[in-house]
């Protein structure tokens, strides 16, 4: 089972229909990687719309008459890290599920490149102690693989040590790496990571993001990263899409942080903290805006893009 789009036959099919606008430009103005003030219908399109791994056009998801997502346009290209950020309840996980075809869309289309293999790391991963299963076996549930491949994928995510352990005994950080290894074992074109740093401490968080960047380079993966973390993620991304049910703004990390929509959504403090993070190295700002010496973060400062 390698086809990620081979979902249950009785689900709604819009995700497999082609869309009239695809490949011909679209209703929305195209914004080439800059943040903009429009509140609705801002297209979160990157430079690679035509050979996109996944393309969403006008995706709306409603439940009980309430819109969870409104008119979302989003492309994820090969070898591109797209970070989706937004406050709690913004519909980030709903967007991920719609893109993966796990839930039907009320309106709009999701187009996945044919034969696309997805490696997915879901947000909620509570391993039931009732299930006795080792890490190696867990990895093999996602893809048939021999011992050599299983071990090399564990090595790649730095989780070789836990190969024989029970899944239920892993720490949050170990579990995230193991889930990442399971995704990699499928030889995916696209990694979809829904809040991969949940339950991981700050140092582990930066390391994990570093790892995701490394994996992208090594495997030429497209990466869709969902986060409510406003500082670390953005530095690693090629493109940041800020959503709050609709796409508020999108662009390279730098532009987005200055976007009035971003400031409105996350507040002045967050925007300032983000900006400081990019321009200075000797300290960072905590949630209250107080400066902390960089030493408390040790080696965790991730590389900045450019500059």
């Amino acid at each position: 089972m390698t086809e990620s789009n081979g979902q249950d036959g009785n689900r709604h099919p819009p995700s497999r229909l082609s869309h009239g606008h695809h490949g011909h430009g679209h209703d929305h103005d195209r914004h080439d990687g800059h943040g903009h003030e429009h509140r609705h219908g801002v297209a979160a399109l990157g430079p690679a719309a035509d050979d996109a791994l996944v393309s969403a056009r006008g995706v709306t998801v409603e439940r009980d008459g309430r819109a969870l997502l409104e008119n979302i346009d989003l492309d994820i290209g090969p070898n591109e890290i797209v970070t989706v950020i937004g406050p709690n309840g913004a519909g980030k996980s709903t967007l991920v599920r719609a893109l993966l075809g796990l839930i039907p869309t009320t309106r709009g289309t999701v187009l996945r490149r044919s034969g696309l293999v997805v490696g997915y790391a879901p947000q909620r991963f509570d391993v039931d102690r009732a299930m006795p299963i080792t890490v190696e076996r867990f990895l093999r549930l996602g893809a048939a693989a021999d011992d050599v491949r299983v071990r090399s994928s564990l090595r790649e995510v730095g989780a070789s040590r836990v190969a024989g352990q029970q899944i239920a005994n892993l720490s949050g950080g170990e579990l995230q790496r193991v889930i990442l290894a399971r995704a990699l074992l499928r030889d995916p074109h696209l990694l979809v990571l829904d809040e991969p740093v949940r339950g991981v401490d700050y140092a582990g968080e930066a390391e994990l993001y570093e790892l995701i960047g490394t994996l992208r380079d090594a495997h030429k993966l497209g990466v869709l990263l969902v986060s409510h973390d406003l500082h670390v993620v953005m530095a690693k991304s090629d493109r940041v899409v800020c959503i709050n049910r609709h796409v508020c703004c999108s662009g390279i990390p730098h532009t987005v942080a200055r976007d009035p929509e971003y400031v409105r959504l996350f507040g002045e403090d967050a925007a300032r903290a983000f900006a400081v993070y990019h321009h200075e190295h000797d300290h960072r700002h905590d949630l209250a805006g107080e400066a902390e010496p960089a030493a408390t973060r040790g080696e965790t400062a991730p590389k900045r893009p450019g500059e």
Binding site: M1, D8, R97, P122, V127, I133, R137, L141
Partner: protein
């Protein structure tokens, strides 16, 4: 050994082996209450068979498969919490089943034998049913084992990786209904799910792999049947409850051992 005792042993141990892997999935997927509801609803099948003068085993089989598919569909509604719904259906169908069997005239029936089973009354036909269904269930289960296991570990991840979640789950639920219908003979409507769940729970602390847990559950289940039948023969106690009590003793032992070790 008396022939009836040999039949009882064969039926009990056979069912323990068939029920073990399904019991594990009930535990892994937290579906104990689902199984309970199917089991109690199967009493309506008994009433139906008596009223329409149909074969009891076949009617119960059809009824429990129908009920389990209905429950699967109802589980997707959002109106009532699923456990509330299951509780409502389990107990109302038990009540209706008992009422209906009481109202059915003509054939004299022993309600207790349906509620708590009558393993010592297992016939050659029963054995044949258990054998045929058992082989069918185990072969089918083996075929869906990997996707089903993947769903049990994380169903959304499984779906994202291309597992046909609904189809696999439907097949599983049908298999479960078949085993529940068969187990009713041995331990009765009220103790059927115990027969599925307790061996799996007892096996959990001793197992390191899912398959290991299923095999251990089969072994412990068979041991429980043996112990229960011995108790039943020596102390003249009812078969079904004796078996479940023996299983409970085994589970208490392994779980205590596991918590002492920790």
């Amino acid at each position: 050994m008396e022939p009836f005792l040999i039949r009882a042993l064969a039926a009990g141990i056979g069912l323990a082996v068939i029920a073990a892997p399904l019991g594990c999935f009930l535990v892994w997927q937290r579906m104990a209450f689902f199984g309970e509801t199917v089991a109690q609803a199967s009493l309506i099948g008994v009433a139906l068979a008596l009223a329409l003068n149909l074969d009891v085993t076949a009617t119960v089989l059809v009824a429990s498969v129908a009920v389990s598919l209905l429950l699967l569909a109802l589980g997707r509604q959002k109106l009532v919490p699923v456990d509330t719904l299951l509780s409502l259906l389990a107990h109302s169908s038990l009540a209706i089943g008992v009422l209906a069997t009481a109202l059915v005239k003509g054939r004299s029936i022993d309600l207790m034998s349906f509620l708590f089973g009558d393993i010592l009354a297992v016939t050659r036909d029963d054995l044949m049913w258990i054998g045929l269904c058992g082989i069918g269930v185990l072969i089918t289960l083996a075929r869906i084992w990997r996707p089903l296991l993947s769903i049990a570990v994380h169903d959304e991840l499984a779906a994202a990786e291309g597992v046909a979640r609904d189809r696999v789950q439907t097949v599983f639920v049908v298999l479960l209904a078949i085993v529940i219908a068969m187990a009713m003979k041995i331990v009765g409507v009220l103790l059927t799910v115990a027969f599925l769940i307790i061996p799996a729970a007892a096996a959990r602390p001793l197992a390191t792999t899912p398959e290991g847990m299923a095999r251990l559950a089969a072994g412990l289940g068979a041991a429980g049947v043996l112990g229960g039948l011995m108790l039943s023969m020596t102390a003249d106690t009812p078969g079904g409850p004796s078996i479940v009590a023996a299983l409970a003793l085994i589970a208490a032992a392994t779980l205590t051992w596991a918590s002492a070790k920790r």
